[in-house]
Amino acid sequence: MVKFVKISRQAVEHVALLARLELSEQEIGTYTEQLNTILDYAAILEKLDTSEVQPTAHAVPLHNVLREDEVRVSMPQEKVLQNAPDAENGFFRVPKIV
């Protein structure tokens, strides 16, 4: 079993990139400390032997929800775009990607 380990400042920076968050130097320091406190607390879970236990993702059993493949009215384009920070010709506009 993988052990709970301390999270380093470098790991916090990496996670911030994965999470698409830009953090200040001060935030990186604060989150490193706070995440370690919370993960230390979570380390109590290691005490439990769960090798024979199935994980629960949902408390109630879920089933596929199927329906007939039929055309229905969908939300009009203007409504979809009404909250866009930047839109043009029916598209969302974003900064240059390549």
Binding site: R20, L21, L48, T50, H58, A59
Partner: protein, 493 residues
């Protein structure tokens, strides 16, 4: 008695008997909101114009001699994470400060169809993450019982609005205690229904396997009435469950003789204030007087619920909140390229607690740690669910305090995330197991309300209402109103 102090049940009778019009009633509440909001700050948005328009429609219907529904013409409010078409829905976040949803949440539609008068949208911890409403990006909400204390959270605006009679009832959402803990802190009734009993369509997601919408009300009857209106299957929510929805009011007034109540000893451990525990033991005595059989029991994995929750909820949050990228809706910051735009948008749009949980969740789901943290927590979730399944083999209902303490002061826990998280220690296991839980007023410590927490079998909200109603009618704590000078001076006895 001031009209705003009345319950939905009482107001319905007054409307039917033409003692009052919905317009008068709506004006009374809007006036009260105007007078009290400077102190309480429960509302993010007040929708006075549309409220009065709706009220006039209901009055016209009554004038035509048509019958009205139980909730028709009665003013209420929604936590600001439930989408309302054409009405700004912010999640108390800068990220959604200008967001005007193009559609309404299913609960908003159902209440609108039931003739409810929407007074506005209620303050909350940003994206429902928090236990004090101090994480709102706009302002903190104040507890009507003591304005220097928090109302609890994350549905703090919802609980405070009902306690201060700024709405007859409100809907909140509960991921780890966010309906029940503020209900306890503000001395109102708060129900977290079974997962899947109420549609989450249009509820802005925090942790999808735990989130559930429910009513906060002045008394148990109103709570059952609102559940009647909002519960039931919805095809637009694929996790919504088809079940035989009862009339929840049919359980009110049934006696509780011989009903078996389990008191899990793990819920009275370290961290539970001894005065709060005493109030709960008095409540046990009251339930025994009413003929219930109560005895101690054990839910052995309780201590593992909080750490499991604080891996599962942030993991789901980090995934759900990935959608806030500044492209389709919400706040956008300027950036040189797409990634820097997205990172800046999220850095400026989210507050510290939301970022903390995104970071924690992203870490728990990241390569190399997924099994150690996330899967481990899900396995522990299975054990917690099994504890409940076993206990409900013997008991009809389980009982505990709702929160370990009464409402705390502003700033008391905000510098230490972990100590804030622990204020949900009694409520979190219920969300992990997906079962219903209700908090009802059970007495006072130092003049501040204490909540009694009742937990039931999945889809057995009825038995919770039965016990809650019997207790409420026997003790009458729900009739005690906040006596804060600012709140009481405006109409409450």
């Amino acid at each position: 008695m001031d009209i705003t102090a009345k319950t939905a049940g009482e107001l319905h009778d007054l409307l039917v008997q033409k003692e009052i019009t919905s317009t008068e009633l709506t004006h009374a509440f809007l006036d009260r909101v105007r007078r009290l909001e400077g102190q309480v700050q429960a509302y993010v948005t007040v929708t006075d114009k549309s409220a009065l328009k709706r009220a006039a429609e209901v009055d016209a219907k009554i004038a035509r001699g048509e019958a009205i529904g139980t909730l028709e013409g009665i003013p209420m409010a929604l936590k600001d994470n439930m989408c309302t078409e054409g009405i700004r829905t912010t999640c108390s976040s800068k990220m959604l400060e200008e967001f005007v949803p193009p559609y309404s949440a299913e609960v908003a539609i159902r209440l609108q169809e039931a003739g409810a008068i929407l007074l506005g949208k209620l303050n909350m911890d940003e994206f429902a993450m928090g236990s004090s409403t101090e994480n709102s990006r706009f302002f903190p909400t104040h507890n009507p019982w003591d304005l220097e204390r928090v109302p609890g959270g994350s549905s703090g605006g919802a609980a405070a609005s009902v306690a201060a009679a700024e709405a007859v009832y409100a809907l909140g959402s509960d991921t780890g205690g966010s309906i029940r803990q503020p209900a306890a802190f503000c001395g109102v009734v708060g129900m977290k229904p079974t997962y899947g009993a109420v549609s989450r369509y249009g509820l802005i997601a925090f942790a999808s396997s735990l989130d559930q919408i429910g009513p906060l009300t002045k008394d148990v009857r109103d709570n059952a009435l609102v559940m009647n209106a909002i519960a039931g299957h919805d095809r637009k929510d694929s996790t919504s469950v088809r079940f035989d929805k009862p009339d929840y009011t049919q359980f009110l007034g049934k006696n509780i003789k011989g009903l078996k109540i389990g008191i899990p000893r793990e819920y009275f451990g370290e961290g539970i204030d001894s005065d709060v525990a005493k109030v709960i033991w008095d409540a046990v005595a009251a339930l025994k007087d009413l003929g219930a059989e109560a005895e101690e029991c054990s839910l052995p994995h309780t201590d593992y619920a909080m750490p499991a929750y604080y891996l599962i909820a942030p993991a789901e949050c980090s995934s759900n909140l990935a959608r806030y990228d500044g492209v389709r809706y919400g706040y956008r910051a300027e950036g040189d390229d797409l990634i820097s735009m997205v990172r800046k948008t999220r850095a400026e749009g989210f507050g510290p607690e939301v970022k903390r949980r995104i970071m924690l969740g992203t870490y728990a789901l990241s390569s190399g740690y997924y099994d150690a943290y996330y899967v481990k927590a899900q396995k522990v979730r299975t054990l917690i669910k099994q504890d409940f399944d076993q206990a409900f083999g013997t008991y009809d209902v389980l009982l505990s305090p709702t929160a370990p303490t009464v409402a705390f002061k502003f700033g008391e826990k905000s510098s230490n995330p972990l100590s804030m998280y622990l204020s949900d220690i009694c409520t979190v296991p219920v969300n992990l197991a997906g079962i219903p839980g209700i908090s009802i007023p059970a007495g006072f410590v130092g003049g501040l309300p204490v909540g009694l927490h009742l937990m039931g079998k999945a889809f057995d909200e009825g038995t919770l209402y039965q016990v809650a109603y019997a207790f409420e009618q026997h003790t009458g704590f729900h009739k005690v109103k906040p006596s804060t000078k600012e709140v009481a001076a405006h109409g409450l006895e």
